[in-house]
């Protein structure tokens, strides 16, 4: 039976159910605790991480960040693989608590980067390591081509020098995937990523940030001073290839952006679910058949928010599905991230408003979700960067033409 179908495949249902149970029983239960106790290590997650590892090893596809590795089998028709299952399970756990998901051992975005571009040998060597991702510097955010951290080849090592900020899970992770340039004069093509393991001499976590949201997740500043990294820790091709150079690093984003979109969808659905319940208690039921304009303003608002959620959700599934089928998905990945990021921020903020004092006070979690959601429209490429990518693709423009 084939044909256009946008339902979650039956084979992923047990995985999603498990993820949802974890979200409800473990993550939601600890949500406020670690929002208040910023920088405290959420020990409950260690047990959980083992469970997620188990899910990953299960037959039906991945549950965690490493699920984004693209398999290169032959053409066997339509495939629903680990990109799709990962997006769906991340959505569920983020429904529980996105900050705790970001602190989940071995599920860092660095793991997704490794899964995306590592050789089989590297994949083996870094198996079981929790990897954070270090791109941003004090002088460069979205403009990753302006990276100043340098990597200089010296014998069988690269020597790293520079400062990285906003490294999610940078303090707790076992390793950090660091973006550095081999030659600043050669621009993007010279930017490579390196896996730097914790404890490597010359790598120092200088501080952790205090933040608007995702407080359960540590955000670190890491300094590299003559930090020697084995040459075989360079991910992808070590040559400076002007044609392909940056694509290796960027390919990671094609895989990780749908994951971040899924996180945004999870947080947003948490807010929608809670708000629906609160509105029902207040006597407002959402009617899908009657026109929004003849329903209470709260119901009409809710319908608009849920519609945005649905659009973001399906665009995210599309991006993951394309990846599963080895089809280019940069455009759809950026569309998904853009739509999910801005919708999640809008949805969670509006849900606070719909719930009034209950939404704003710390007794409930709505205010926390509104704070958490904002980062999802910033990291892994801001809203504006996604728009830029989408625009370039649609208009057929280079980054030199459309800056």
């Amino acid at each position: 039976m084939t044909g256009i179908n946008l339902e979650v495949p039956r084979k992923f249902r047990p995985l999603i159910k498990q993820a949802h149970d974890v979200a409800e029983q473990v993550l939601r239960a600890n949500s406020r605790k670690y929002d208040l106790a910023e920088h405290e290590y959420p020990t409950e997650l260690d047990m959980l991480a083992a469970l997620v590892d188990g899910l990953n090893d299960g037959g039906s596809g991945g549950a965690g960040a490493s699920g984004v590795r693209r398999s290169h089998g032959g053409d066997e028709g339509n495939r629903n693989g680990s990109n799709l299952s990962t997006v769906l399970s991340i959505l569920e756990v983020a429904w529980g608590d996105v900050a705790l998901v970001l602190s989940m051992p071995r599920q860092g975005l660095g793991n997704a980067a490794i899964a995306s571009v590592a050789t089989d040998d590297q994949l083996r060597r870094f198996a079981g390591k929790w990897a954070a991702m270090a791109i941003t510097e004090p002088g460069c955010g979205s403009d990753s081509a302006a990276i100043r951290t340098t990597a200089v080849r010296d014998g069988d090592c690269y020597v790293l020098n520079g400062e990285k900020i906003y490294v999610t899970a940078g303090q707790r992770a076992d390793a950090v995937v660091v973006w550095a340039t081999l030659d600043r004069a050669k621009g993007r093509a010279a930017i490579k990523s390196f896996v730097v393991e914790k404890g490597t001499p010359g790598m120092v976590v200088e501080r952790v940030e205090r933040k608007l949201g995702i407080r359960a997740s540590d955000t670190a500043t890491i300094r590299f001073t003559d930090c020697r990294v084995p040459a075989e820790n360079l991910l992808g091709n070590p040559d400076i290839d002007a044609d392909r150079g940056f694509t290796g690093a960027m390919q990671t984003f094609d895989n990780t952006r749908p994951l971040v979109a899924a996180m945004a969808l999870g947080v947003a659905r948490a807010a929608l679910d809670e708000t629906r319940t609160l509105l029902a208690r207040a006597g407002v039921e959402i009617d899908y058949d009657r026109p929004a304009l003849v329903q209470p303003a709260a119901a009409a608002t809710f319908l608009q928010l849920e519609a945005d959620w649905e659009a973001a959700y399906l665009t995210t599934l599309e991006a993951a599905w394309l990846a599963d089928n080895n089809r280019p998905n940069s455009l759809q990945a950026s569309m998904a991230k853009a739509k999910a990021g801005r919708s999640a921020t809008n949805i969670t903020l509006r849900c606070v408003q719909l719930a009034g004092a209950t939404g704003y006070a710390e007794r409930e979690l709505l205010e926390k979700w509104a704070r958490d959601a904002k980062i999802l429209d910033i990291f892994e490429g801001t809203q504006q960067i996604q728009q830029l990518i989408v625009a370039r693709r649609l208009l057929g423009k280079t980054s030199a033409e459309l800056k």
Partner: protein, 454 residues
């Protein structure tokens, strides 16, 4: 030459009987405004177009009895209704159309590019589709027959709301108003296939599979603000052996030439229902109702004044009626998707070619991001519409998904229409480019009920 009732008297000391309560100053200004307006017509050499506009209003400003309809009789005895079986439920998430769908999609796309887009401007002005278009669409695309089961001389094998969505989307890429004109009769045949009993199908379906297509329309919308299809003003009261319908239906496509209507009316118990009404029924009149857009669909207002129909005219009620409303909204979402894609496809070469400050305007983020947002919201609208349609044909619940598709079509259809004009600036506002038409047409997707069905 049209005579304008201009009072050729000085502004001061003038007396007019209407309006009664204006003070002299306001009165003077009102008259001045009127005179100035008329003089401007000459200065701008606009008298010809205005005359044509008046002619149009006369031609399309009719009020007439409904088209004389053929005699509908049951062509054969049909005890049980024929239905298309529900589509299967695919095991996997898949955005790939079937080979058959791809073929139909391509045929509809070519028809839209070759026959709809070039004819759209004139049809918009004329308030009707070009002669013979319906027949050509029937011959080349078979828009009606793909939804009618084979045992009723159609070509349909299974329920396919998705195929209908793909066809509507492809046609609306050519022109939304013409797409509505083409798809309006199929709304009635689809309703008959979905909900008609054996006798209704035997009586009314045969003309839909004939070579010469029959005009028909699904009339749900009413003129009152905040219209709610579940709180209809049109009433169906009990009469001897049937019902008596009274009320007004708005923006009905092809109303003047339709021979058969499916009319939504409120039952004595307060519920909503669909009735089959022949256009020649005594008490049924049609008025022209040209609107902001959808003009090629030859919109009309249907006035029902104690129109008597037999008990067998009741076509659908309850959950079936609700499904009709949902499927119609889905069709509008599909149409909005097609036209929104047309906007995107049109603005891209324009902003890439248009120079300002020494470079293409698409080199500027504010322009480029507007294009990006069209693309992003269009993708969400399309996928949401597909999901709802797929659920509908699989026999799953789809009220939620249809409502969300509708919400997106209303909000982002409008936004995309507006962005299309804005990106072309002054050029977008004039009829040299189609974006001003799409701006008007896309607004319809958020307020229309009925008329089309998937």
């Amino acid at each position: 030459m049209v005579n304008y009732p201009i009072p050729l008297v000085p502004c001061t000391g003038m007396t007019l009987t209407r309006p009664a309560r204006r003070d002299p100053m306001a009165l003077g200004l009102a008259v001045l405004n009127r005179l100035a307006g008329v003089r401007a017509l000459d200065r701008l050499n606009l008298r010809k177009p205005v005359e044509r506009g008046v002619y149009q209003a006369t031609r399309t400003g009719f009020r007439t009895v409904g088209a004389v309809n053929r005699t509908f009789t049951a062509a054969r005895q049909q005890a049980a209704p024929a239905r298309l079986p529900a589509a299967g439920k695919p095991a996997l998430f898949d955005l790939t159309p079937t080979d058959e769908q791809r073929m139909i999609q391509q045929a509809a796309g070519e028809f839209a590019a070759e026959q709809l887009r070039p004819a759209a401007g004139a049809a918009d002005t004329e308030c009707q589709p070009p002669a013979g278009l319906l027949a050509r669409a029937t011959a080349e695309l078979g828009v009606s027959v793909i939804g009618i089961p084979a045992e009723l001389d159609g070509a349909g094998a299974e329920r396919s709301a998705v195929t209908n969505v793909l066809v509507a989307e492809a046609l609306a890429h050519g022109d939304l108003g013409l797409a509505v004109a083409l798809l309006a009769p199929a709304a009635v045949s689809t309703a008959l296939v979905l909900w008609g009993d054996g006798n209704q199908q035997a009586t009314y379906l045969p003309p839909f599979t004939a070579d010469e297509p029959i005009g028909a329309a699904l009339a749900v919308l009413e003129p009152q603000p905040l219209f709610d299809p579940f709180a209809l003003a049109t009433e169906a009261t009990s009469a001897a052996g049937g019902y008596r319908l009274t009320g007004t239906k708005a923006l009905v496509p092809g109303a003047a030439t339709a021979e058969l209507f499916v009319v939504a009316a409120r039952l004595p118990d307060g519920g909503s229902a669909l009735f089959l009404v022949e256009s020649g029924s005594p008490g049924l009149t049609v008025e022209a109702e040209p609107a902001m857009g959808l003009r090629p669909a030859a919109l009309g207002r249907l006035v029902l004044d104690h129109v008597t129909v037999p008990a067998g005219a009741l076509l659908a009620r309850g959950e079936q009626y609700a499904d009709c409303i949902r499927l119609s909204r889905l069709a509008w979402s599909a149409l909005a998707t097609g036209t929104a894609q047309a906007v995107l496809d049109y603005v891209i070469p324009y902003v890439n070619g248009r120079q300002a400050f020494g470079e293409p305007i698409s080199n500027r983020q504010s322009v480029a991001f507007s294009v990006a947002d069209i693309g992003i919201e269009l993708e969400g609208l399309r996928l949401t519409t597909y999901r709802a349609a797929a659920r509908a044909e699989q026999g799953r619940s789809f009220a939620r998904e249809a409502a969300l598709a509708r919400t997106l079509a209303a909000e982002y259809g409008m936004q995309i229409g507006s962005a299309g004009v804005q990106l072309l600036g002054g050029h977008g506002y004039v009829k040299e480019h189609p974006v001003e038409r799409w701006y008007r047409d896309l607004r319809a997707a958020g307020l229309m009920e009925g008329a089309v069905l998937v």
